[in-house]
């Protein structure tokens, strides 16, 4: 057998074509098998009670035979050959209709006339004929229509009469505007500066720091820079460019040549409302057939003439010492000057001239213009590089004092970090020891729960079983995490007593407002500002400690934080716009959840449904 790579690739492809579809089919079959409802069989004893429910204070029941007949009716009226009406849907229909009836939502004969088109004998006869063909009697058919309409009336009643009180709005509002109070320990690098200065900050230590940390020298590198001027033609502003008092007439060949060279750019400029003119078929009259060139002719002429303006301007600019700003003004062209421009600045300021404009500038000859007219998108331009400066990396001796400061700060930060993390790790170790037994128990419970669920759902595929196990383990870990958070405060108190530390406290603040006010870490001036926007805070319950150290790498500070209290905002803090927003949100959520009211779980609960078999 050939071992050539091509042959092997063909073998793999053939295997994929042969086997993958059947594998997918197997997956689809299993998915279908799992989700398709169990078919409802004719009951052996139709007189047994299938289920009972209470509505309007009265107990109702239905026999297995009646339930089966109802299912058959719904299957004929609402199901298809591919879609079996599940048992749940039958209960939902039955109970919703019963509820509608208990609310007195009658359907009159007049409404039935309209629903069944009884005023049009042909249409009505058609409905009856369809029912007859399905084996549905007229009485049963009308009863179904009556019940469906009653259910619609019930839905209308509930949707039209929903109420949102001011208390509802405030309950919603306050969830997003709770007031938090934090206690924290701050471990600051600044507190260790003196300690570090007492240690080894000799020249050899600084030299070692400089050579072993590659990022440190790079902090002092000054980037390459350019000083340049641009003269450009922007089609968005070319109406203002001066074409000249005697524009030269352009030939069709010149225009066609320009069209072919710039086809992609030009085609993008055909307005959307003219695009349809380019599409024609055998029925389109000849005089209405247009080509892209014809549609763009005026624009091409204008651009060519302006291009000539740009070329003329470039010729003038090519003279030594030419004033590009004046030349651009003379011809009505765009002008831009950059000074002391590095690559990062060029990426934003000079973006219209292309991503690589900085490289092009830096590689150009100082004092000379760019080669010819350049194009980027719709913009055509030329530039002159006036000055450039290479990137420079200073030696250690040149920046020794600054590096020494960096070294000291880095060491002090490390000491602060060690202190904070040391304390947190010690607390976590003690908590883990205390929770070891609980963890064993929770793990065993999670495994048992997963096994039960796998059995209950009848899962057979390994990936489905693994998913259930993972979900159970996830629940277990979350419970354990909460247990850890509940006992951490005890160890924090012990550690603080041991080290003579005391929690500092913030005032009450609103988490949401802190986020909305964009108190970014870089802008936080105080510990309070920094902690207010930390996501850990929202996940804590009052009295709990954040399970990890919160790092502020800008201020070089490390926090261990404890949520002291959470309280509701004052009612007056909910303004009219907030109330309006809350109401709109509640209404949206209620509408999204509306259909759940008519699903079996809620109906079962509300009407005390008991299904016997």
């Amino acid at each position: 057998m050939s071992r050539s790579p091509l042959f092997q690739l063909l073998l793999v492809l053939a295997a994929a074509i042969l086997f993958v579809p059947s594998l997918l089919g197997q997956v689809r079959k299993e998915r279908r098998e799992r989700t398709e409802p169990t078919p409802i069989r004719k009951p052996d004893d139709p007189t047994t009670v299938k289920g009972t429910w209470i509505v309007g204070g009265t107990r109702h029941e239905i026999t297995a035979g009646e339930f089966y007949e109802l299912h058959q009716l719904l299957q004929k009226l609402e199901g298809t050959a591919q879609r079996t009406i599940p048992e749940d849907a039958v209960w939902e229909f039955l109970l919703s209709a019963a509820e509608a009836q208990s609310f007195g939502l009658n359907v009159t004969e007049g409404e039935l006339d309209s629903l069944l088109n009884r005023d049009d004998p042909d249409l009505y006869e058609g409905v009856l004929a369809r029912w007859e063909a399905e084996g549905i009697s007229k009485e049963k058919g009308i009863d179904y229509v009556r019940k469906r309409q009653a259910i619609n009336k019930l839905k209308n009643l509930l949707l039209n009469t929903d109420r949102i009180t001011t208390q509802d709005a405030f309950d919603f509002f306050k969830k997003e505007h709770l007031l938090y109070k934090i206690g924290y320990l701050a471990f600051r690098a600044a507190d260790h500066i003196e300690e570090v200065k007492q240690g080894d900050i000799s020249d050899s230590a600084i030299k070692k720091y400089w050579s072993e940390n590659r990022a440190v020298p790079q902090r002092f590198r000054s980037p390459s820079k350019v000083w340049a001027e641009f003269v450009f033609l922007d089609p968005n502003t070319f109406q203002k460019a001066k074409v000249g008092t005697e524009p030269r007439k352009l030939t069709r060949e010149e225009a066609l040549d320009f069209f072919h060279k710039n086809k992609q750019m030009l085609m993008a400029q055909i307005p959307p409302d003219k695009q349809h003119l380019l599409h024609f078929d055998e029925n389109t009259p000849l005089e209405k057939v247009v080509s892209p060139f014809e549609l763009l002719r005026d624009k091409i002429d204008q651009m060519l003439m302006l291009d000539q303006v740009l070329t003329t301007a470039r010729k003038e600019a090519d003279e030594k010492g030419a004033d590009l700003a004046a030349i651009a003004a003379k011809y009505g062209l765009g002008y831009k000057k950059v000074e002391d421009c590095d690559r990062a600045f060029a990426l934003t300021e000079l973006r219209p001239f292309g991503f690589n404009i900085f490289t092009a500038l830096f590689n150009a000859e100082v004092g000379s213009l760019s080669e010819g007219i350049l194009q980027q998108g719709q913009i055509r331009y030329f530039f002159r590089l006036n000055k450039k400066k290479d990137s420079y990396l200073p030696s250690l001796d040149e920046v020794k004092d600054q590096v020494r400061e960096m070294f000291i700060t880095s060491k002090a930060t490390e000491l602060a970090r060690k202190e904070a993390y040391g304390l947190m790790n010690a607390m976590n170790v003690k908590a883990a020891a205390e929770l070891a037994e609980q963890e064993k128990r929770l793990t065993a419970e999670a495994e048992a729960a997963a096994a039960d669920r796998i059995r209950e759902l009848g899962l057979t595929r390994p990936q489905d079983k693994n998913r259930e196990k993972m979900l159970a383990r996830g629940r277990m870990r979350r419970e354990l995490e909460q247990a850890k958070r509940d006992i951490l405060p005890k160890y924090l108190d012990e550690a603080m007593a041991e080290k003579g530390l005391k929690l500092q406290e913030t005032d009450y603040f609103e988490y949401q407002m802190a986020r909305a006010a964009d108190i970014q870490r870089a802008q936080a001036k105080t510990a309070e500002e920094f902690l207010q926007s930390n996501f850990y805070i929202r996940s804590l319950k009052p009295g709990q400690v954040a399970p990890a150290v919160i790092d502020d790498n800008i201020s070089k500070c490390f926090y261990i934080a404890k949520l002291l209290d959470v309280k509701d905002p004052p009612f007056e803090s909910m303004g009219p716009v907030d109330a309006m927003q809350a109401r709109a949100r509640i209404a949206q959520l209620a509408q999204n959840a509306f259909s759940r009211r008519f699903r079996l779980p809620e109906l079962r609960d509300r009407l005390a449904l008991v299904i016997k078999n």
Partner: protein
């Protein structure tokens, strides 16, 4: 004498006939015509019937009420009546209606509690009492209801296409008048949308964009700013508002248009108009590639704005 007796008998029975309402069919017909008729699809989607305002429905229900008296439609009609009175902030009247229902129809499904759930009427009574208690304790301010004026519109001509907007002159008269003035003066002509957030919103109207120097685009202001004319119009897709300055005032010229819900703007910027045609053009503008400051690399020009009245 005989005729006099007949006439007297008729005259005496007229109030009774009037009070007994109509028959069942006409009672339900009257009630069905009064209430909104929503559409419920099999996939769970709901299309609400918004052809009439709540106050119009309340009037219609009150008109249908006498016809339902003495019929099976009466409790349902009363429930609707109480609910729409609640929506009209007439809580005491609503409470009276619901309490009257409980007295007169204690065994009706609407009034009867289930084993673990209170009845709909009991819930309604509780809501009325809660609302009345809270309003007795606090001053509740309701924002005015915004209605689009369909007699005026503005057409925005951009380099990506046109879109149209109408305005809430009833709640934001100063903002609309200022906007109209700036359009007529041509301030927005030949500017561009200088900040865009993909699929969220766009900002335009800065006169500084005319100098094509993006560094000062955000500072485009006039010598004055505007008050925030807040209403119940929310910052949802299509909403147009003047850029909020954060101090209860709004920019005199820069405006923002939402492509998608922007609830964070509700307190800081007042909606004074809405895009009624061409929202897909606004969406397209929001999708331009931008730098880190959300300034588009390629300008989408606002060539001109037409005011049509």
């Amino acid at each position: 004498m005989k005729y006099a007796a007949i006439i007297v008998g008729l005259a005496l029975s007229l109030p009774v006939i009037a009070q007994s309402g109509g028959d069942e069919a006409s009672a339900w017909k009257a009630l069905n015509a009064a209430i909104p008729s929503n559409t419920f699809e099999a996939n769970g989607r709901i299309t609400r019937d918004t052809r009439r305002t709540d106050s119009e429905v309340l009037k219609a229900v009150e008109k249908a009420l006498p016809k339902t008296r003495g019929t099976s439609a009466e409790p349902v009609a009363l429930y609707y009546h109480g609910s729409y009175l609640f929506r009209a902030d007439r809580f005491q009247e609503a409470l009276n209606v619901f309490e009257d229902m409980k007295k007169r129809f204690p065994d009706h499904g609407l009034c009867k509690s289930a084993p673990k759930h209170s009845s709909l009427v009991d819930d309604a009574i509780a809501d009325c009492r809660s609302e009345m208690a809270i309003r007795a304790k606090y001053k509740i301010v309701r924002l005015p209801h915004a209605v689009l004026n369909d007699k005026i519109k503005a057409i925005f001509h951009t380099s990506l296409g046109d879109f149209e907007a109408q305005f809430y002159t009833n709640v934001a008269p100063k903002t609309v008048a200022n906007f109209k003035k700036l359009i007529e003066e041509g301030l927005y002509n030949d500017t561009y949308f200088h900040r865009v957030w993909s699929f969220r919103r766009i900002v335009g109207g800065s006169p500084n964009t005319k100098n094509r120097d993006r560094r000062d685009d955000d500072q485009g202001t006039l010598s004055y700013d505007l008050p925030l004319e807040l209403s119940d119009a929310l910052q949802t897709a299509g909403a147009i508002s003047m850029v909020g300055l954060g101090n209860g005032r709004a920019s005199g010229c820069m405006f923002t248009i939402c492509v998608h819900d922007q609830p964070q703007l509700n307190n800081t910027a007042a909606v004074f108009g809405r895009v009624t045609k061409g929202l897909e053009i606004v969406r397209l503008i929001s999708q331009q590639r931008t730098d880190d400051d959300n300034n588009p690399y390629d300008h989408v020009m606002l060539r001109s704005v037409e005011w049509i009245e």
